[in-house]
């Protein structure tokens, strides 16, 4: 798997489209990241924290019943829902917070959509003694109220963002603006493989643990690689994390599942790769949902974590190169999978993850006993109770 070029591009995608005030901070971050990545002591601490605080390795689990009526294909879940704080997000916040400490930063700043990244940042901040400010859209605060309470219990300050769409996009704008005023002492913990270089690369490296473990576990348990790997795509971090374990296994098909909302033919969805066009948002060039005039469009998804008009630049690169295939699942299909999976398997998936699960059931109908479908179950669904 490749690193981006020296200017932060994966093919034509990525780069650094931010105001000058942030350039020095990104340079400083890139230097510190490069040094940390080359330092075995940094990785030792990261892995020890993932083991003792997060509970890694997360298991893989073969579904008994969910797709058994349509296929004999083994359907295997990578259980990121078992992580401390309930989603894959904490793999990344552990990495970034340890890097922040190494850099001598005294505060953490984060945006959040579903609240999972905010909770994961708040938890790590509490553990390391770093104060945390979380920016969250006012609409998301309403629809993910449980996570707001959790962040506050963990000592984080949650700031409601009332500008624009009042969701993840505007929370991210606000986090960038706040960071611009505090670059000297504050580390901006971005929650997905988005943003200006080196964020998309750095976040992928911290989420790669999902794919590395899953590959080893699948080989150990089943003696073969999966035929297909599936993950939902909001910004794209859980997907890039699990894909990273299999990118160099050319025979493994990679599937990214975007939020189809009320249907990708209309305007109410968040399928940037499927229905968007190339542009610049939040510091990098990638696909995004926008008007002909280049205004970023309002998106819709029942799942707050996928309700984002952009997507990480490396996914845009995978789309163009054909290494991964991107599909969509609607709100209604995701809700059906949320309920169906809970009843068949005894696991309540996050609505985000339910998009991947719904697509897995569709794909299973075209696969047989010799194949193996691996799904990234990116988070647990407690936050979504009562919403669908």
């Amino acid at each position: 798997m490749r690193a981006p070029d020296s200017r932060g591009y994966f093919g034509d995608f990525g780069g650094r489209y931010v105001p000058e005030v942030l350039i020095a901070a990104l340079d400083e971050l890139e230097r510190a990241m490069t040094a940390a990545f080359a330092d075995p002591a940094f990785w030792a601490e990261y892995h020890a924290t993932l083991r003792d605080f997060v509970g890694r390795p997360s298991p893989i689990y073969r579904c008994e019943r969910y797709a058994a009526d349509v296929s004999s294909v083994p359907l295997v879940m990578k259980r990121e829902d078992t992580n401390h704080t309930g989603a894959h997000k904490i793999n990344n916040t552990v990495g970034q917070a340890l890097l922040a400490l190494r850099m001598g930063k005294r505060r953490l700043l984060a945006e959040t959509g579903a609240g999972q990244h905010g909770v994961a940042t708040a938890a790590v901040g509490a553990k390391l003694g770093l104060p945390v400010d979380v920016y969250m859209g006012a609409r998301d605060i309403e629809r993910q109220a449980l996570n707001v309470d959790v962040m506050q219990l963990l000592g984080a300050q949650v700031h409601a963002v009332t500008s624009g769409t009042q969701t993840l996009k505007d929370a991210t704008n606000e986090a960038f603006r706040v960071w611009a005023g505090r670059v000297e002492d504050t580390f901006y913990v971005i929650g997905s493989v988005v943003g200006a270089h080196p964020y998309p690369f750095m976040v992928r490296e911290f989420q790669k643990i999902i794919g590395i473990e899953a590959r080893r576990q699948t080989l150990e348990r089943y003696g073969r690689l999966p035929s297909d790997v599936i993950a939902c795509v909001g910004g794209g971090s859980n997907a890039m994390g699990i894909f990273a374990g299999f990118v160099d296994d050319r025979e493994v098909k990679l599937w990214g599942v975007e939020a189809g909302g009320k249907g990708v033919d209309g305007d109410e969805h968040a399928a940037s790769l499927l229905a968007g066009s190339i542009g610049v948002l939040h510091g990098s060039r990638s696909y995004l949902l926008q008007s002909a005039e280049g205004q970023v469009r309002e998106t819709h998804s029942i799942s707050a974590g996928l309700d984002y008009p952009g997507v990480g630049p490396e996914h845009a690169f995978f789309k163009e190169s054909g290494r991964a295939t991107y599909v969509n699942i609607t709100d209604a299909q995701a809700v059906e999978a949320f309920h169906g999976f809970a009843r068949c398997e005894g696991i309540l998936p996050a609505l985000e993850s339910a998009h991947a699960i719904a697509f897995a059931r569709e794909l299973a109908a075209q696969r047989g006993a010799d194949d193996l479908i691996l799904v990234n179950l990116s988070g647990r669904g407690d936050k979504d109770i009562g919403r669908c």
């Binding site: 000058e20 942030l22 280049g294 205004q295």
Partner: protein
């Protein structure tokens, strides 16, 4: 066009005055009246803000002005048309636009049509030195300037390279953070930044972000060539329209303009 404005100000021993206006806030008629009022009052250059949905470098005032402008369906095309309409009655115009609207319009086409509309240059705050090569070349080919920003966090060596690459003028950001009249410039570091830029460039230095009061203008002082005033100006006519807005603007800029002379 821009050079003339700065030379004249220097000759008159004063800072040049560069007001920033969000086009289409709240409608084009108001913007036109404000533009003409600013030009008559003595603006040397005018920055025209192009509305954008996600203005990362802007604080609440300009972001909200942009939202109002988007509600009146103002986009890059409308901004170019307004500039063309006003070209003979108005101070030289520099656009202030984020990159994505330009990218969707087409970089070459943008440069061509901006030149045809009589525009003097474009400031693109999310295109810093490193990503600026293509855009700068396209603008230069049409004779348009591309001022670049230097921030308080910009290391000295990089500031030299930015000053080298900038055309028209160098935009010196007065403090960390985003646009907005809420906090004043950080004068001590600003003066050091200006002094060190002075040693390496003859290009005009325009100071912006947080400049809102006559005393800010006086504090910027001799080391700069120009001041940019945005958020405070926008606040001055918020909630009014057309000629009423123009009257507010005249009242607001008079004491700022009176503070421009340096001795």
């Amino acid at each position: 066009m821009l050079d003339g404005a700065f030379v004249r100000a220097r000759r008159e021993k004063r800072l040049a005055f560069i007001p920033y206006v969000m086009v289409g806030d709240p409608d084009l008629e108001t913007t036109e009246a404000v533009l003409l009022a600013l030009s008559d009052a003595g603006a040397d250059v005018i920055e025209l803000g192009v509305p954008y949905s996600d203005p990362l470098a802007d604080g609440p005032t300009i972001a909200a002005a942009g939202q109002r402008a988007l509600r009146s369906a103002t986009h890059l095309r409308e901004v170019l048309a307004l500039a063309w309409r006003c070209r003979e009655r108005c101070a030289p115009i520099v656009l202030f636009t984020y990159y994505n609207p330009v990218y969707q319009f087409g970089v070459e086409r943008f440069a061509r049509e901006a030149a045809a509309a009589g525009i003097a240059g474009a400031i693109v705050p999310d295109v810093a030195l490193d990503e600026s090569v293509e855009l700068r070349a396209a603008l230069q080919a049409q004779g348009l300037a591309m001022p670049l920003l230097v921030a308080p966090s910009t290391p000295q060596q990089r500031a030299v390279r930015i000053a080298d690459a900038a055309t028209g003028f160098v935009y010196v950001v007065s403090r960390l953070g985003v646009t907005g009249a809420g906090y004043a410039p950080d004068f001590a570091p600003l003066h050091r930044q200006l002094a060190s830029l002075r040693e390496v460039t003859n290009k005009p230095l325009a100071v912006g972000f947080g400049v809102s009061r006559p005393q800010d203008v006086r504090n910027v002082g001799l080391l700069a060539d120009a001041i940019v005033v945005g958020s405070a100006l926008i606040d001055s006519y918020a909630g009014t329209r057309a000629q009423a807005a123009a009257a507010r603007v005249r009242d607001f800029v008079a004491p700022l303009i009176a503070a421009l002379p340096v001795s």
